[in-house]
Amino acid sequence: MSAELESRAIQGVELAKKAGADEAWVSAEQSRDVEFEYRDGALEKVKDTTSRSLNVRLFANGRYSSHSTTDLKADRLQSFIADAVAITRALEPDEYRKITPAELFANRPSDDLDLVDSTVATLDRDRRVEWCKALDETSHKHERVISATAGVYDGTSMSAAASSNGFVGSQEQTYCWFGSSVTLRDQGEKRAEDGFYAGGAHVADLPDAASVGRIALERTLSRLDSEKGPTMKGTMLVDSRAAASLIGRLLRPANAGSVQQERSFWAPLIGKKAFSDKLTIIDDPLVPRGLASRHFDSEGISAKPIPLVENGVIRNIYVDTYYGLKGDMTPTTGSASNRRIATGDKSLAELIAEVGDGVYVTSWLGGNADSTTGDFSLGLRGHMIENGVIGRPVGEMNVTGNLRDLFGQLEMLGNDVYPYSSTLSPSLVFGGVDFSGV
């Protein structure tokens, strides 16, 4: 299959050159996805699809544009690419729009990332339904359950890319996820809801489906009788799952585009101590079986681990070819892979004991952050921590502050990395945080 996709990409480059492009980057993608949903004892939805597309980046007369299509019929494709070249020529020239220099293709790693599990292709209806039933059974084991939906999602994605300056490469990855969402009868008309999903590149890495259903139920049960917590300044413990999305918010402005466009609070801090010395973040595309592992990025730059933050000092940001040239920065990669956050040495229970009193955040609800200033305000759900133990469930609260200040107040990290995310973060403890509630 990868050979067929590669030849499709190479043909695309030829078509683009023939249509008048000076340089071209073409990627061909294909994926197979299967989705089963099983609700309250019955199969509710089966979706089984194969999808493909062709993506083209063109450089002509110092101009640039990008295009994609799912219509791969030969004659349509030819006119699509001809139109694409015409669109490119109608734009304004930009001296920084250049195809990725071939030297950035060099030293492509050959590590076996083990991203393909051949058993995924052999999964059949019976196996998926068996998982669904196991999830369904354990996530219903409580008299307050109103409804529970179990889901299984698996598939394979493949892509190949080729460029007019010599790049050819292909990547393939399998995935398999399952879990369930649970709704419980709570006070009055309220329903408590939560869920849990596990997944990875390999079926063998998945926990037992029944245990995943059990965790989904337990997480939801812990939400019952949730109340609004106090308005206060205090310590915040963010569990490893919720930490992944908080790290994502911190890193959103950590790219050359935002810096060059003066919309990044990271800009004046590059090369400086910006955060707590306990914070170290590495973008690592070479994690075996990693959810975002790869040998090369979306413009062909060879993959390598990139330290973003080391002991609170900003070492690198995400830099692609275009903004690298425009902003005079050396390209690293324009797109994130796995983020590894250096861990601490305490278990979650030890963190809770050490915090003593504060708020334990298990998930976020809405909120946002301003990339230019770092100001943020987020809705949260979780529990109060009282006398070193987890107390009553709280929700309908906000936490508000500035991301730079917050990560300056990072006091402790756990040793409990959440495995089902491409951001591999432990639980995080922050001091002096503003909460709003009652």
Partner: protein, 513 residues
């Protein structure tokens, strides 16, 4: 390059396309599949997708070979274009074509779904067999031909986007940039993002209907970064509609640009409000986000048929003051959330969620309507052929109430006014929802005092509805380009509201210790 206003208007009126992307109906290389029977007159949508009545009938027959209560084929072709102006030049464009057919079979509450981007008969038949595997009954009688439904008129255009060249769009982006820079010397960077799309859908249903719809869409966003001393602030504004190029009148663009610059410059003075519970005034227009999150999602019948919404047992009950009526309506011409037909081929309309304070009706797709024994409300929507439809909102708004904006402000001793928003979210079961306020004001002693920024607001849907104690008479729909995401599917929506007072909500902010 600077364009004076008159020149700009000239460009808008006279620009003939040097570059015209081939139109939907003029594309070359259309192939007809083998005709079996073609009882209806020529249908340009069928021609484009390279199918005819016979092909569609054969695929439908295959799709329903193991039984079906309902089934549909959803053919879609979307051509989208984007342009970006940055650092004074338009040097980035994107075009994309998304074409495919989604095949769905429904038995009771069970759905089988497949799609293919290869519109040849063998490929469509294979996808039909995949989707039909959910069923294990016996073949139902599929129609031999499909009757075209009347074409909708909510967003008819005279010039399709495919015939508007980049030479016409480019001066518009330049104008927006120049205008933004002219409004305040502190403005350092301006970027302008353009999007237009022509979407065509053709839906063939098991009961023999053939619905076609041409859905144009466009949006312009301007982002501004300004500097004062060491401080940098950025803000943005956008406008969106199911419209054509001529909609972009200078006045409309000027209003958008002024908003973006105002929203950015005020941030230099704005502070965080004190944290905690307080009265919240929601300004008219974009504050309709309250309705979307606090009640709209909870009224989508897929959650309710599972008993999973906080509103599941509340139909017919009083949920708000008697002067409150909340509506979801897809039939408002040219709005971003407007639809002639939903994505199941059903006629759209007006659904009262709350009438005079009483909860009235959920938003139904065919599956939920059947379960409740009701007619669908035309609310079955999907992001694209890649997804099965589900109940969704369209244009959600509250009607005018008996108060005035001034009365509302005067009634608040310590609180805030919320004006602009970036996003919101809701938990359907618990009813807790949030929205993020980018700009607003403190209200002290019944007067608007200082600007505020960047606070999340959190509340509980039914509780907030009960706490809407005043509703003004200045209802309007927001013109921003809102997209609603649910279960991984994004669809365009509109929202609106008059100025309202919610007597108590939890506002993110700082704790004065």
């Amino acid at each position: 390059m600077t364009i004076k206003r008159r020149e700009f208007l000239g460009h808008m009126a006279a620009g003939s396309a040097i570059l015209t992307v081939p139109g939907f109906l003029t594309g070359c290389g259309v192939q007809q599949a083998t005709a079996i029977a073609d009882a209806t007159p020529e249908n340009p949508f069928m021609d484009w997708f390279g199918v005819d009545q016979g092909t569609v009938a054969r695929v439908m027959s295959e799709l329903t070979a193991n039984g079906a209560d309902a089934a549909d084929l959803y053919f879609q072709h979307t051509r989208s274009n984007t342009l970006r102006l940055e650092d004074g030049i338009v040097s980035s464009a994107n075009s994309s074509i998304d074409q495919g057919v989604g095949l769905r079979v429904v038995i009771g509450e069970q759905t089988g779904y497949a799609f293919t981007e290869d519109l040849t008969l063998p490929s469509m038949l294979a996808a039909a067999r995949t989707a039909s595997a959910i069923a294990s009954g016996s073949r139902v009688a599929a129609p031999q031909s499909f009757s075209p439904a009347a074409t909708g008129k909510l967003y008819t255009t005279t010039v399709p986007w495919a015939s508007v060249g980049i030479d016409q769009k480019l001066p518009l982006l330049k104008y927006v940039e120049t205008k933004a820079k002219s409004l305040d010397p502190a403005v350092e960077k301006v970027s302008v993002y353009w999007a237009d799309a022509d979407e065509r859908v053709m839906i063939a249903t098991l009961d023999g209907r053939l619905v076609t719809d041409h859905r144009p869409m466009t949006r312009v966003t301007v982002s501004v970064t300004a500097k004062q001393g060491d401080e940098t602030q950025s803000g943005y504004s956008n406008i969106a509609a199911r419209e054509e190029f001529g909609w972009y009148k200078t006045e409309r663009l000027d209003t958008m640009v002024q908003e973006a610059v105002d929203r950015t410059m005020i941030l230099f003075e704005a502070r965080r409000p004190p944290a905690g519970e307080m009265p919240v005034i929601l300004a008219s227009g974009a504050s309709g986000i309250l309705l979307h999150e606090a009640i709209g999602h909870g009224m989508e019948a897929d959650f309710n048929r599972k008993g999973a919404s906080i509103y599941s047992d509340m139909i017919g009950k009083k949920v708000a003051e008697p002067f409150i009526t909340i509506v979801d309506q897809a039939t408002i011409p040219r709005e971003r959330g407007a639809l002639n037909y939903d994505d199941e081929g059903n006629a759209t309309g007006r659904t009262e969620l709350v009438k005079d304070g009483v909860l009235q009706s959920y938003l139904h797709d065919e599956i939920s309507a059947k379960q409740y024994g009701l007619k669908p409300t035309g609310s079955g929507r999907r992001q694209s052929y890649k997804f099965a439809p589900m109940p969704r909102m369209s244009c959600t708004f509250m009607e005018d109430g008996p108060h005035t904006k001034d009365e509302i402000i005067a009634s608040v001793d310590h609180g805030i006014i919320c004006e602009t928003y970036t996003n919101g979210q809701v938990q359907i079961g618990a009813g807790d929802y949030t929205f993020y306020v980018k700009n607003g004001w403190l209200v002290e002693g019944g007067k608007v005092t200082a600007p505020i920024k960047d606070v999340n607001i959190i509340g509980n849907g039914p509780e907030s509805l009960k706490r809407i104690t005043m509703v003004a008479n200045d209802a309007r729909l927001d013109t921003g380009g809102w997209t609603c995401g649910k279960n991984g599917q994004g669809v365009p929506v509109s929202q609106g509201i008059p100025t309202v007072l919610v007597s108590k909500m939890t506002v993110g902010g700082e704790n004065v210790s």
